[in-house]
């Protein structure tokens, strides 16, 4: 998959120099890539949790077949697909939380495998993660400074941690006065920001965001997406945004990969995928998000 051209229209090329100096993870540079990754759950599974069914009717719970994905530094890529298409599995593999049955994940020239926390510190500092409903990932018993300090301590990040925490909070526009509060004492929007600040505090080179707004209502959704896109632009972060919504993809990312049935069925500039989808699965996604987005056309026969 050589889509070098596809990444050329991604934003942020010029802004890297702005903040590049603050990236202490600068020792690790280069592309984050999954190379021909496959994954299958052992059958039969004992638990429920069926997410999707292939057109031939067999189940596929997030299996992957020979998936390759290449994220250039400071580029934004959307990973789009309906539920059960394997997006979340791919993210788990990229985060070194699951081991692919075949294929490799590498950051720059260095290969990444699930393993002990200690052996993955370099990788965790370079690649951070924003989960679904970010605020839910904050331990309610910890204060903001404890929450942000934990990854700094555990990843042995160099520098004054307190200063780094303050800096990260500043970037997401959370007042430093809230440092000793707990999530229960903050507003929903503030908590979303704190969760994003926690990922930023270790100054990663890449952010993987797995449906970061799908659990949120409209105004909050907008806040989180705006914050993410401005951060990515200003900090020169590489972003992989997982979403089932093409609208969000179009708003955030220059490049889009479409997943279906555990494969990447389409990859290219977002506007091309939207305008002329080249696979039936992508076409179905485009049609669905068109039908479900405003302003809808009034259906036939609605005229009084």
């Amino acid at each position: 998959m050589s889509d070098g051209g596809a990444f050329s229209n991604s934003d942020g090329g010029g802004s890297v120099s702005n903040s590049g100096g603050s990236n202490s993870g600068g020792s690790v540079t280069g592309a984050l890539a999954a190379d021909r990754v496959s994954f299958a759950y052992p059958a039969p599974r004992f638990r429920g949790g069926v997410h999707g069914t292939r057109h031939d009717g067999t189940l596929h719970n997030g299996t992957l077949h020979n998936v390759s994905l290449h994220l250039a530094p400071s580029s934004s890529t959307a990973l789009v697909g309906s539920s059960g298409s394997g997006k979340s599995t791919l993210v788990r593999i990229l985060l070194a939380l699951a081991k692919p049955s075949a294929g490799t994940v590498a950051l720059g020239a260095r290969e990444v495998r699930p393993g002990l926390a200690r052996s993955l510190r370099w990788y965790r500092q370079a690649v951070q993660y924003i989960p679904q409903n970010p605020a839910g990932s904050l331990d309610p018993r910890m204060t903001v400074s404890q929450l942000l300090g934990e990854p700094l301590r555990q990843l042995r990040v160099a520098g004054n941690h307190r200063a780094l925490v303050g800096e990260a909070l500043e970037r997401v526009e959370v007042p430093a006065g809230l440092m000793e509060r707990r999530p229960g004492e903050l507003s929903g929007g503030q908590n979303q920001r704190v969760a994003i600040a926690r990922a930023l505090a270790v100054q990663p080179a890449y952010l993987l965001a797995d449906e970061p707004v799908s659990g949120l209502d409209l105004p909050l959704r907008d806040t989180v997406l705006s914050l993410l896109s401005s951060l990515v632009r200003e900090e020169g972060l590489g972003l992989l945004l997982v979403t089932h919504d093409l609208g969000t993809a179009a708003r955030m990312c220059g490049t889009t990969s479409v997943m279906a049935h555990g494969r990447i069925v389409e990859h290219g500039p977002t506007h091309r995928v939207l305008d002329s989808p080249g696979s039936p699965e992508a076409a179905a996604l485009v049609q669905a998000s068109a039908a479900l987005h405003f302003p809808p056309a009034v259906p036939a026969g609605a005229a009084p």
Binding site: L218, R251, F294, P295
Partner: protein, 267 residues
Amino acid sequence: MPAPALSVTDLALSSGGRQLVHPLTFSLAAGERVALLGASGSGKSLTAAALAGSLPEGISAGGTITFGAGSGAGSGKDRAALIRQDPATALNPLVPIGRQLAIPLRSAGYSRPDAKAEAARLLARAGIGEPALFLPRYTGQLSGGQLQRVCIALALACGTPVLVADEPTTALDAVTQNTVLETLRMWSTGGRSLLFITHDLAAAASLCTRALVMEAGRIVEQAPMADLLRNPLHPYTVRLVQAASGSADSSAEGAAARSATATAVAA
């Protein structure tokens, strides 16, 4: 104007002296698809439960609900079929779906093989390809969208003239939502009526011809869908329309959306 398929007169729901739904009056014509819009807590799901005769205990209902006689096959049913947000619990997980579809068919007098054939036919009508393969399956083998369509097929099998769909697409992803909406559109052919309950204006607009807007237990606006979108009157409706169009503007995909919708409408 023929007799309505469903007419609701002064339906009021209360619990322990607290009025949850103030007297409602509305009707559904045969073959009509009507949206009941409202935020969570506005009383729309309780109204749905009342129409389906499955009110939670402790809620007392007043007023009358009348089902019309002239609404296609299987008249004489005195309540609406109901499908809910979570289809996984709507069917027995231990019984193959073919056997569950056969329950109403067998009691309607079908022989065993006839019931099986009819069940397969109904599944196909609900948009499930290769229905014969689906009959021996269990709910644990089906996805949410497929289960919703099986539930719609079951409602077809029951011969109820009115279907109340309570947020049937909320838990589904975009592509699956679309297929379920297609199936609901099919429902209203043949004189069957649909009451589609949702907080999602876009989904309602793509499916329904008329809308009722509920807020705090009252219907605050009712209008044909086109009018409602063009000229919302009540503040809540105005906000609803604004919020929906606002999110679309910011998502910078209007062109694609519009062109795709055009094809969907043409289809």
